[in-house]
């Protein structure tokens, strides 16, 4: 198997030279969530995903966070944490009792 190592490396380097680098891929992965990218670029990205497990994971993880995010609202509202301060609470109650005031 060792004999194939240089060939594998050369293939990797060749594909690498044809596709966007990982830093660009991370930008493109995010952009692809916003709009349809041109076909040629999508193909290059596909090719990159074939040889780069890190970019595959990155894209998968972004998608996971995107899917989870809408539920954050309902969780964040009830999780323990900072709420209205006592002072703000009093001020608002006072204002509501006298809505035309000031």
């Amino acid at each position: 198997m060792k004999a194939f190592e240089p060939l594998k490396q050369r293939c990797g380097a060749w594909i690498w030279s044809l596709t966007p680098n990982c830093a660009d891929m991370s930008r493109l992965a995010s952009q692809s969530l916003e709009k349809a990218l041109p076909l040629a670029l999508r193909l290059k990205m596909r090719l990159h995903f074939l040889v780069c497990v890190w970019c595959c994971r990155y894209r998968k993880q972004l998608k996971f966070l995107r899917q989870a995010a809408p539920d954050l609202e309902q969780h964040a509202g009830v999780l323990p944490g900072r709420g209205l301060s006592l002072e703000a609470r009093r001020r608002i109650v006072q204002r509501l009792q006298n809505p035309r005031g000031q």
Binding site: W16, S26, Y58, Q61, A88, R91, V93, N98, P99
Partner: protein, 216 residues
């Protein structure tokens, strides 16, 4: 005026957890029942405690004016959230006319230290520092600590980047609408979203998925 203030301050607020009146509950109880929820909603988007308090106050005032009756507490809450949403987008529209939303933002790429600096594989992930596989991400959704981590990580995002992330990903508002609301270009929005997602992914990686003593 002073006497007024004292009498209000001395008034006992209704006890927590008391059942909501089926009809329009009285304004004091609104603050008790929904104040914290609305404040958290507002601060996640406005990222400023004073502005969030003001938005909550305006919401209650608007609700008082447009008084309606409700079938129950949750219907009342979602109505108030709807009013607050409008207050928040009004705020952004107004603020974006006065100051630019993006010029104060520092656009450094937080992950740049995770990419190879030079050579043939310049700008590829440094293998040890690249994204690791996340174990059972689906199961995480059932954990309260996961959501706490998610909330804390999104709160740690830089101010404007965090606002953009919440509007786009949590509220699901379309890019074009956000650009109009904040008066920014689409490419500006993309850069900010890219930064937000990158920083959030990294934060969740460190504080949840890669955490050794992570609670299940």
């Amino acid at each position: 005026m002073d006497a007024d203030k004292d009498s209000t301050a001395g008034q006992a607020l209704p006890p927590e957890g008391a059942p909501a009146a089926p009809a329009l509950s009285d304004p004091e109880r609104w603050v008790e029942l929904h104040g914290d929820y609305l404040f958290r909603y507002a601060i996640m988007r406005l990222r400023d405690a004073t502005k969030a308090e003001d938005a909550v106050q305006e919401t209650f005032l608007a609700a008082l004016k447009g008084g309606r009756s409700f079938a129950g507490r949750s219907a009342e809450k979602s109505w108030l959230v709807g009013v607050l949403k409008n207050k928040i987008s009004d705020y952004f529209r107004k603020a974006s006319r006065e100051t630019s939303f993006t010029d104060m933002e520092f656009y450094s790429d937080e992950e740049s230290d995770r990419f190879v600096a030079d050579g043939l594989f310049k700008d590829s992930w440094i293998h040890e520092l690249g994204p690791h596989e996340w174990s059972s991400p689906g199961a995480s959704l059932d954990s309260e600590v996961f959501w706490q981590t998610f909330r804390d990580c999104s709160n740690k995002l830089p101010k404007n980047v965090g606002t953009v992330f919440t509007l786009r990903e949590v509220d699901g508002i379309q890019s074009r609408e956000i650009c109009a609301m904040l008066n920014i270009s689409e490419s500006n929005l993309w850069v900010m979203l890219h930064r937000a997602r990158m920083a959030l992914r990294r934060c969740m990686d460190t504080n949840w998925f890669e955490k050794k003593d992570r609670p299940e």
